[in-house]
C-alpha cells in the first residue's frame, strides 16, 4: 500500500504562516472575535490584471497552493482537490446584495461567476492549465477531511502520483453576524490568546487556506506522512469517542502511548470542550498535548490549520510554546494525532507520522 508523503505545504491564515522558513515566531494577537488572514504580497503569486477579479478567498487559495507546489517542486499535479464549508462567501454576499439593491436587474457578472464553491479549485486549474481530476468537497466540518480521504484513495489506487489537496474558508461580516445569531461566537470580545481562560459559551471566528502537495514518493522536504483519517458524526458518548480513537490508532498498529503529540480542537466553548478533557485524561495522560484555534479561530475547515501545524512540527521536531497545553516535551516526534470537532457535530481524526 502506497505511503502518502507530504512534500510541500502552504498556508495563509490569521497568523504569519505563508513563509515556511518561519514557524510561529511572531504571533498575531486579536482583541476581537472575527479573525482575518495575514496576507502575503499576492502580486508575487498572481498577475495584477488577474488579481483584480479575485476576492480574498481566491487569492488566499492560489497563494497557498503555489507555495506548496513550489516547495514540492511539482508544476502539474495529477489532481486538484479542495474542501470548503462556505465557499466564496464574500462574492456570494456581494451578488445577493446587488440583486436586492437593484431589484434583480443590472447584475454585474464578476461576483456571480466567482461565487461558486469550486471557484478556488477551478482558478488554480486555470492558472496551471491543468485538465486533470478536479473536485471540491462541501461537507461542513468534514470538508477538508473528505479532500484528504479522496487524495489517499487516488494515490493508493494508483490513479495519481501528486495530489494538490487543500482546505479553505473565508469569514465575512455578514456570515459572522448570521452565525453569531445561531450562538457560534462569544458575546464579548476575547483576546485570542486567552481563548481557553474565558469560561463561556461560543468561540471566535476565523478563516484560512492550507494546501499540501501529497505524493506517493518522498520529496526533499520531510513533513512526514499522512497515515490515516477518520470521521464520525455526533457520537453518543465520550466513551464511544474514546473507543473510536483506540480503534483508529489500532488500524495503524499503534496504542495511545505511541503518540508523541496530540493536537486537540479546543475552541474555548464550554458547551463543547469537555470531550477533549475526557480524551486527554483517559487516553493521553502524560503525553504532550497542543491546541490551535486561538491562532486561527473556528471555521469549517479549521482542521487544515491543525494539519499544517502537525506537518511543521514533524519537519522541525519542535513544538512552539504558544500551542502547548502542558510543559511536557517528547524525546522525538514521530506520531502526531489530531482530534477535532466542529460544534461537537462533525468529529475528525488525522494521524501524521514521521
Amino acid at each position: 500500500m502506497s505511503e502518502i508523503f507530504i512534500n510541500g505545504i502552504g498556508a495563509v491564515t490569521p497568523q504569519h504562516t505563508h513563509d515556511n522558513a518561519r514557524f510561529l515566531e511572531h504571533i498575531e494577537i486579536y482583541d476581537h472575535n472575527n479573525l482575518r488572514c495575514v496576507n502575503p504580497n499576492f502580486k508575487e503569486f498572481i498577475p495584477p490584471m488577474e488579481l483584480r477579479r479575485m476576492s480574498r478567498i481566491i487569492r488566499m487559495g492560489i497563494a497557498s497552493a503555489r507555495i506548496s507546489m513550489k516547495e514540492a517542486g511539482v508544476e502539474m499535479p495529477d489532481a486538484i482537490i479542495t474542501g470548503t464549508g462556505m465557499g466564496c462567501v464574500e462574492d456570494t454576499e456581494k451578488f445577493l446584495i446587488s440583486m436586492i439593491d437593484n431589484k434583480e436587474l443590472l447584475l454585474t457578472p464578476t461576483s456571480f461567476i466567482r461565487s461558486t464553491h469550486n471557484t478556488v479549485g477551478a482558478q488554480i486549474a486555470l492558472k496551471l492549465k491543468c485538465h486533470n481530476y478536479n473536485f471540491t468537497y462541501v461537507h461542513r466540518g468534514f470538508s477538508f477531511e473528505n479532500v484528504l480521504q479522496d487524495a489517499i484513495m487516488l494515490i493508493r489506487e494508483g490513479d495519481a502520483g501528486n495530489v494538490l489537496a487543500g482546505g479553505i474558508d473565508e469569514t465575512s461580516d455578514n456570515h459572522y453576524s448570521i452565525s453569531g445569531r445561531l450562538g457560534f461566537w462569544k458575546d464579548k470580545p476575547v483576546r485570542n490568546l486567552d481563548l481557553l481562560k474565558e469560561r463561556s459559551n461560543g468561540t471566535i471566528a476565523g478563516e484560512g487556506s492550507v494546501f499540501a502537495m501529497l505524493s506517493n514518493v518522498k520529496g526533499e522536504k520531510d513533513y512526514g506522512r499522512l497515515t490515516d483519517i477518520d470521521t464520525f458524526i455526533s457520537p453518543e458518548s465520550h466513551l464511544y469517542t474514546k473507543q473510536r480513537i483506540e480503534n483508529f490508532l489500532g488500524q495503524s498498529n499503534l496504542n495511545p502511548g505511541d503518540i508523541d503529540l496530540v493536537i486537540l480542537g479546543y475552541s474555548g466553548d464550554i458547551r463543547y470542550d469537555e470531550v477533549f478533557d475526557t480524551i486527554r485524561n483517559s487516553l493521553f495522560s502524560g503525553i504532550p498535548a497542543a491546541y490551535f484555534k486561538h491562532l486561527c479561530g473556528e471555521y469549517y475547515t479549521s482542521s487544515s490549520f491543525a494539519f499544517w501545524l502537525a506537518a511543521q512540527i514533524l519537519e522541525k521536531q519542535f513544538i512552539p510554546a504558544v500551542v502547548k497545553l502542558d510543559d511536557l516535551n517528547p524525546n522525538g516526534i514521530n506520531n502526531v494525532l489530531i482530534y477535532n470537532h466542529f460544534m461537537e457535530h462533525h468529529h475528525t481524526l488525522m494521524l501524521l507520522s514521521k
Binding site: P48, M49, L51, R52, R53, N102, L106, L107, T108, P109, T110, I113
Partner: protein
C-alpha cells in the same frame, strides 16, 4: 466632454477593480479591449451595466458594443448623444 471622460475613467477603474491604474494613465483615445487596458468580454458586461446603472442608457443592439466601447472617448460621446433620450 473632458469632464465626462475624467469621470468615466474613475468609474471604469472602480467597477473593473483596476487596483494599480490611475485615471491619468488611461489614454482616452486608446482601445479598451485587446491592447490598451487589455479588457475582456466579462469587462464588457460590467461596462454595459455601468452605462445602464450610472447613466440610464441601455444598449439595445449588442453589435453597437464594439463601437461604443472602443475607447473612453467613444463611450463619453455615446453617453452625451443618448443621455436623456
Amino acid at each position: 466632454m473632458e469632464e465626462l471622460i475624467e469621470r468615466l475613467k474613475g468609474e471604469i477603474i472602480e467597477v473593473l477593480n483596476l487596483e494599480d491604474v490611475e485615471p491619468e494613465e488611461i489614454d482616452a483615445d486608446a482601445p479598451l479591449f485587446g491592447e490598451g487596458l487589455g479588457l475582456d468580454s466579462i469587462d464588457a458586461l460590467e461596462l454595459i451595466v455601468l452605462l445602464e446603472k450610472n447613466y440610464g442608457i441601455k444598449i439595445e443592439d449588442p453589435k453597437d458594443g464594439k463601437k461604443i466601447f472602443f475607447s473612453v472617448r467613444s463611450m463619453a460621446e455615446y453617453i452625451t448623444e443618448h443621455k436623456g433620450k
